[in-house]
């Protein structure tokens, strides 16, 4: 197991290195420069700025110094935010994004499991139909539409929750709901499919023949077997959501990282683009590794040390 983990962690860093390299060169291929008022600047000024940020050196030198710095945890200085270190920018804004993402995943997956299971247990009844309908809505309604509807009804009309801004748990409710729609829909569809499959399997037939009640069968046999594969879906889903959604963060004025990322692309803020990309990649890689480890723990068939079979 330790050997396996070491191997996986090595591959994780290799992956991150490759992503860093590819992103670096792709970014250099983008048209434009980080200077948005280039026309007004004299060549002298441009030269000074380029020297300040090391942009006058050959690309391969920039690349090597970037990789070396990144390995030491230094992702450079942001161009747009008056020389703040990228690592500080990210760490000061990642908090709200992570919190919203985690809340959305928990809410979405929890209700997704319930609705998906009910749907499978009552296959081809109105319950199944209704939950399918809700799931399709969840997948097809864009999150900004849902966000605005939530603001209008729960925020403005009913006044249950603050419409926007950031300051305490009640402020997180609406953006969480808006973000939870897609993990909810995906989870419930996934769980339904899995559970319909499981409920038709031989071991469920055997459980019935043992005399288990319907609830007993779902609780003791069907649920675990249909939820195990869900882990593989939740991982990437969580990574995508926790790294922030620009649209939802914008609508609710959440000081998160999503907004910052898009902005940095628009103004060619190379160090910020790189930093956020690396953060996303690292998060995704870590979650994938975690998924595999968790999978090994909850599914006895693929325990890494279990070679007896």
């Amino acid at each position: 197991m330790a050997k396996y983990l070491l191997k996986r962690i090595f591959y994780l860093f290799l992956t991150l290195f490759l992503i860093a390299s590819i992103t670096f060169f792709l970014m250099k291929l983008m048209p434009g420069t980080p200077l948005n008022n280039q026309a007004k600047l004299s060549p002298q000024q441009i030269k000074i700025i380029y020297e300040h940020y090391g942009l006058n050196k050959p690309v391969w030198q920039q690349y090597i110094s970037y990789i070396v710095d990144a390995a030491h945890g230094n992702f450079g200085l942001s161009y747009q935010f008056s020389d703040q270190p990228v690592s500080y920018l990210i760490s000061s804004r990642i908090g709200p994004s992570l919190q919203l993402g985690a809340q959305a995943i928990i809410v979405g997956v929890f209700f997704g499991i319930i609705v998906g299971s009910l749907s499978a247990i009552r296959k081809n009844t109105w319950i199944d139909g209704a939950s399918t309908f809700i799931s399709i809505l969840g997948i097809s309604i864009p999150s900004f539409v849902l966000a605005i509807l939530l603001q209008y009804y729960l925020g403005l009309k009913l006044q249950w929750f603050p419409i926007a801004d950031w300051g305490g748990f009640s402020y997180t409710v609406l953006p969480t709901l808006a973000l939870a729609a897609s993990p909810f829909a995906e989870t419930s569809r996934f769980v339904r499919t899995e559970m319909v499959d499981v409920l038709g399997s031989d071991y469920i037939e055997l459980a019935k023949a043992k005399g288990l009640s319907r609830t007993g069968i779902v609780w003791h046999h069907a649920l675990r077997n249909s939820l195990i594969p869900l882990v593989t879906v939740i991982g990437p889903l969580a990574a995508a959501i926790m790294t922030g959604s620009m649209v939802v963060e914008n609508i609710f004025s959440v000081p998160g990282i999503g907004e910052q990322f898009v902005k940095s692309i628009l103004v060619n803020d190379y160090p910020t683009i790189m930093g956020v990309t690396m953060l996303y990649s690292a998060l995704l890689c870590a979650i994938l590794l975690l998924t595999d480890i968790v999978y090994g723990i909850i599914d006895p068939r693929i325990r890494i040390s279990g070679n007896e079979g």
Binding site: E205, A207, H220, D299, G309
Partner: protein
């Protein structure tokens, strides 16, 4: 002790339709049989003949699109078809248990086998987890799992197919059920393991005195296991009798065909026999004898009217017009003739074993159809 002659299970005139998109499939048509305490009844027939549907009915586990058109399934006089879901749950696993065909898929892959064996005890007998686990361990030893103490905490994927079927048997028998339904329990196993599993079932049958309904398409397996045999074809029972009667004095051309297609030690050269054709489409069963189209001995009446059961002996009935007094005498295939000669000889010598279950002459089969002919 109950009367040994009592029928613990009586299936009468069972008729089941399946409603499908393609139409109504008449899967079971007027099937009747009974089971006595301690005996093994084999139900034999090819795929799609309705064997499994019959067992599902007994367990109360029919699919939603099945409709019981007629008939009763009485367990100790109580009609299973009229039981509530709660009553059925109480019966399943405790009074009537079942073993399935494929041991590779019939165990929950994510649950330790010990827990799976203990589960029925906790449901039906209210045992504590600890007590149930202890009993499960005993059961695991009984079905011949070596190192049971260690292996009880293993998962199904850590066992071979034969071992898994032993575990399935342990689950089925852990509550000492009165009836064990074995639905092709050895079909998915290789031949050497088959024999072990059959021996184990026989051994356990004696130990816990359970009755077995043995579903199979393999007559070779039947010979060593069963006391009585019912042969099913196209949703109907076409012949039934003691195991000797079916093997040595078969009367129905379908039974002849089945026996003929079984390889024996004499099958040295040439090809294996088979029954030509395929079973009829049960969406639209033919009038008359459903086997007529594949039957080289078919007569005109076979296509017009379904044959009733004709009595061969007190325990032996067959539904074929060939047994009608007015029917012309036909010679069965040589191999069958040979069997019948052996049988006659043994009868003369008195060495025949008519099975340890002797009918009182009154049976639940359609014995009263004797004179239904000639209309």
């Amino acid at each position: 002790m109950e009367n040994a002659d009592e029928n613990i299970l009586e299936v009468k005139n069972l008729t089941i339709d399946f409603h499908t998109y393609a139409g109504t499939v008449k899967a079971i048509r007027d099937v009747s049989f009974h089971l006595k305490k301690g005996e093994t009844l084999a139900i034999v027939g090819e795929s799609g003949s309705g064997k499994t549907v019959t067992t599902k009915t007994i367990m109360g586990l029919l699919a939603n699109n099945a409709e019981v058109v007629e008939g009763t399934v009485k367990y100790h006089g109580k009609n299973v078809l009229e039981m509530s879901e709660k009553e059925l749950e109480n019966m399943r696993g405790k009074d009537i248990a079942e073993i399935f065909q494929d041991p590779m898929t019939s165990l929950d892959p994510t649950m330790r086998i010990g827990r799976q064996i203990a589960e029925p005890l906790q449901i039906h007998k209210g045992y504590s987890r600890e007590k149930a686990n202890k009993q499960a361990l005993e059961m695991l030893k009984l079905v011949g799992i070596t190192n049971a103490e260690e292996r009880i905490n293993d998962y199904p994927h850590q066992f071979s197919g034969g071992m898994r079927q032993r575990i399935v048997i342990a689950i089925a028998l852990v509550c000492y059920p009165e009836i064990l339904i074995a639905d092709e329990p050895t079909t998915a196993l290789d031949v050497t393991i088959q024999a072990q599993i059959l021996d184990l079932m026989k051994e356990l049958q004696e130990k816990i005195s359970t009755s077995i309904i043995f579903i199979t398409h393999d007559l070779g397996v039947v010979a060593g296991m069963a006391d009585r045999v019912a042969v099913m074809y196209a949703g109907k029972i076409v012949e039934y009798g003691t195991v000797d009667e079916i093997f040595y004095n078969p009367q129905h051309p379908y039974t002849w065909g089945l026996l003929n297609s079984m390889p024996t030690l004499d099958t040295r050269k040439g090809k294996l026999e088979s029954i030509p054709g395929t079973p009829p489409d049960l969406l639209d069963p033919p009038t008359g004898d459903p086997f007529a189209a594949r039957n080289p001995y078919a007569m005109k009446i076979d296509e017009q009217k379904e044959p009733p059961f004709f009595k061969v002996s007190d325990t032996h009935y067959a539904a074929t017009w060939l047994l009608h007094p007015d029917a012309p005498h036909v010679d069965p295939p040589d191999a069958i003739k040979h069997r019948q000669e052996v049988y006659a000889e043994r009868l003369k010598k008195g060495t025949i074993n008519l099975g340890h279950i002797h009918s009182t002459g009154k049976t639940s089969f359609g014995a009263d159809n004797d004179d239904a002919i000639g209309e």
